[in-house]
Amino acid sequence: MAVPAYATPAERVWYYAFRIICGLIFCFLVGPLFIIIPLSFNAEPYFSFTQKMLTLDPEGFSLRWYQDFFTSAAWLHSIKNSIIIAVASTILATVLGTIAALGLSSRFMPYRSVVMAILISPMIVPVIISGAGMFFFFSSIGIAQTYLGVILAHTALGIPFVVITVTATLTGFDQSLIRAAASMGANPTTTFFKVILPLVLPGVISGALFAFATSFDEVVVVLFISGPAQSTMPIQMWSGIRESISPTILAVATILVLLSIAMLTTVELLRRRSEKIRGISPG
């Protein structure tokens, strides 16, 4: 969108003003994420830039908060928990969600919109409500305060993401490919693994990553239904922020920002790949 040749001077001013405004909004979006990265190397236990940091004095910087993080038993335990819970619930959500998406994208699916609305609802219902309900129900069937309970809860929360991304991939899916495979003698299992899966795989992986991120970032439900043994990284951060913000939290936050950049890049590459495969890449 360049300035058209016929633009009036006022329009030219507006054109650049508009870009500056947009630039500021982009700063608002990503600035806060990057501001904590230098702060996490603060040598002092403060939450702001010290004089030494501003003058780039090496003494103003240190890795002590990272060291704190990697040597703290509580933090390491919570990472282990977060990974166990996130991996398990991601696998469950991805398997259940992908199978369901295959059914949903069939044009014969009855009550499609109602079913879809139900499957999406864990994303819409405020987590605090789901968390309260899960606390009551899981307590009554004896799986509150267990890994199983937390994993089931996170699976439920991750499912909408898998369903949405996989059905989106399947929308552009050419059903005649299945018939072509069948006509050439492939049985349904072969068809699934050789034809369907490679095509929907990018969607499945994106969905899985979404589910993973959901579980990895989830506080409220864990707060309600977990016992001390299941304390996760977000719980550790949550109690840290509520009490006092030690820069250790900034170190953790920095690591998590890098993780999210990695996940986002993966998802973006997958999306492009998927569009290319399906031939709908706009270029």
């Binding site: 606390f135 899981f138 307590s139 009554s140 004896g142 799986i143 509150a144 305060q145 267990t146 016992g227 001390p228 043994a229 109690s239 509520r242 009490e243 006092s244």
Partner: protein
């Protein structure tokens, strides 16, 4: 027939084997101890946990959940999966937990060790320290502290009424987000005598008076909810005054050299101690006995400025171990500090907290 017998014998053997493994594992199981976190947990660690682990090899896992301890206990009992072995709790919460059957009834003389001179445990604790399901370990106090750097040297606050005096003592305040203590302080600052405070709070006029007093500083108050917040807020100079547990302020004073001062006037003191969750008596009782004996009880006072709940321990309080400071003047029970102290009325709060919490929330919101 024979086959099925062999099968069941096998099953029984396997089960017995598993049982053996389980009980062997039990002995090695760490003990999950719930407490308040921060400097307080640290003092318990130094005084109880470390010597205990040295003595028995059993590891102690600290869980900082006492702030929602009653909720946690209820949830665990309801879920039928109690994972906490010993919980540090306020007596008021312990009363509720006891009435709900969430915690074990304690036979104090059988469970607790006698004083060194042979006085049975039931005679060796300060009044109110032993309840049906509760054994106090410390006497602590809710006080207001201030950062001395926020006021000129010749104009330092000294009375509880000073926190309501914005003219002479400007700046933000931080108080705990609950009616307990704040209502008492409002009335004390308004000139109500100590022994009439709780009586007055049962009347509408008294409540109106207390809330009216709080109104005067409402716009200058940040409300805290975790015990570690007030020292942090004071250190960051986010506030000039903060209500706090006296031990937290002591910790910041001596371990971090923070320029804090405690206003002992109008301190509201109460007890704090152990309860045993239902079904955990067997795993917890040895550590319970160990951590409440006279020596341990006195040792804790060498790490944090909370008074020991055992009378036989009071005489043993000496110096702060990390810094060598004399502990006595920092104790809530030290004579000059204690002159205008108010004991917290647990019965009053047990009955009125539901109603007053609501009223306090409504007051905050409007």
């Amino acid at each position: 027939m024979k086959k099925s017998f062999r099968k069941s014998a096998l099953t029984a053997a396997v089960m017995l084997g598993t049982l053996g493994v389980v009980s062997a594992a039990q002995a090695q199981q760490p003990l999950n101890v719930v407490s308040w976190g921060g400097a307080y947990t640290m003092s318990q660690e130094e005084a109880y946990s470390k010597p205990w682990t040295e003595k028995t090899g059993q590891r102690i896992v600290n869980i900082d959940r006492s702030a929602t301890g009653l909720a946690g206990l209820r949830a665990q009992v309801e879920a039928g999966n109690v994972t906490w072995d010993l919980v540090d709790m306020l007596p008021a919460d312990a009363k509720i937990a006891c009435a709900e059957g969430l915690i074990e009834i304690l036979d104090h003389d059988e469970l607790l060790s006698p004083a060194p001179d042979g006085t049975p445990a039931s005679q060796d604790f300060v009044p109110g320290a032993l309840d049906e399901c509760f054994v106090a370990t410390i006497v602590y106090s809710n006080i207001v502290a201030f950062n001395t750097e926020m006021f000129p040297a010749d104009k330092q606050p000294s009375k509880i009424a000073d926190i309501f005096d914005l003219e002479n003592y400007p700046g933000m305040r931080s108080l705990q987000r609950r009616p307990i203590n704040n209502l008492e302080w409002a009335l004390l600052a308004d000139g109500v005598p100590h022994d009439e405070v709780y009586e007055m709070l049962t009347t509408e006029a008294g409540l109106e008076r207390a809330f009216a007093k709080l109104d005067t500083i409402k716009d200058n108050t940040i409300w805290w909810s975790e015990g570690a917040q007030p020292p942090q807020l004071l250190a960051d100079k986010e506030v000039a005054f903060a209500s706090a547990y006296n031990g937290r302020i002591f910790d910041a004073q001596v371990n971090e050299n923070q320029p804090f001062e405690i206003i002992w006037d109008g301190q509201v003191f109460e007890l704090d101690g152990w309860v045993v969750p239902r079904g955990k008596m067997d795993v917890a009782k040895d550590f319970l006995r160990f951590s409440t004996d006279t020596e341990r009880n006195a040792a804790q006072a060498s790490y944090i400025s909370y008074g020991p709940a055992r009378m036989s321990a009071a005489g043993l309080v000496g110096q702060h171990i990390p810094t060598g400071i004399e502990m006595t003047p920092h104790m809530p029970t030290y004579e000059p500090n204690f002159a205008t102290a108010l004991p917290k009325d647990d019965e009053f709060w047990a009955d009125y907290q539901d109603e007053l919490n609501e009223r306090f929330d409504a007051w905050l919101a409007n």
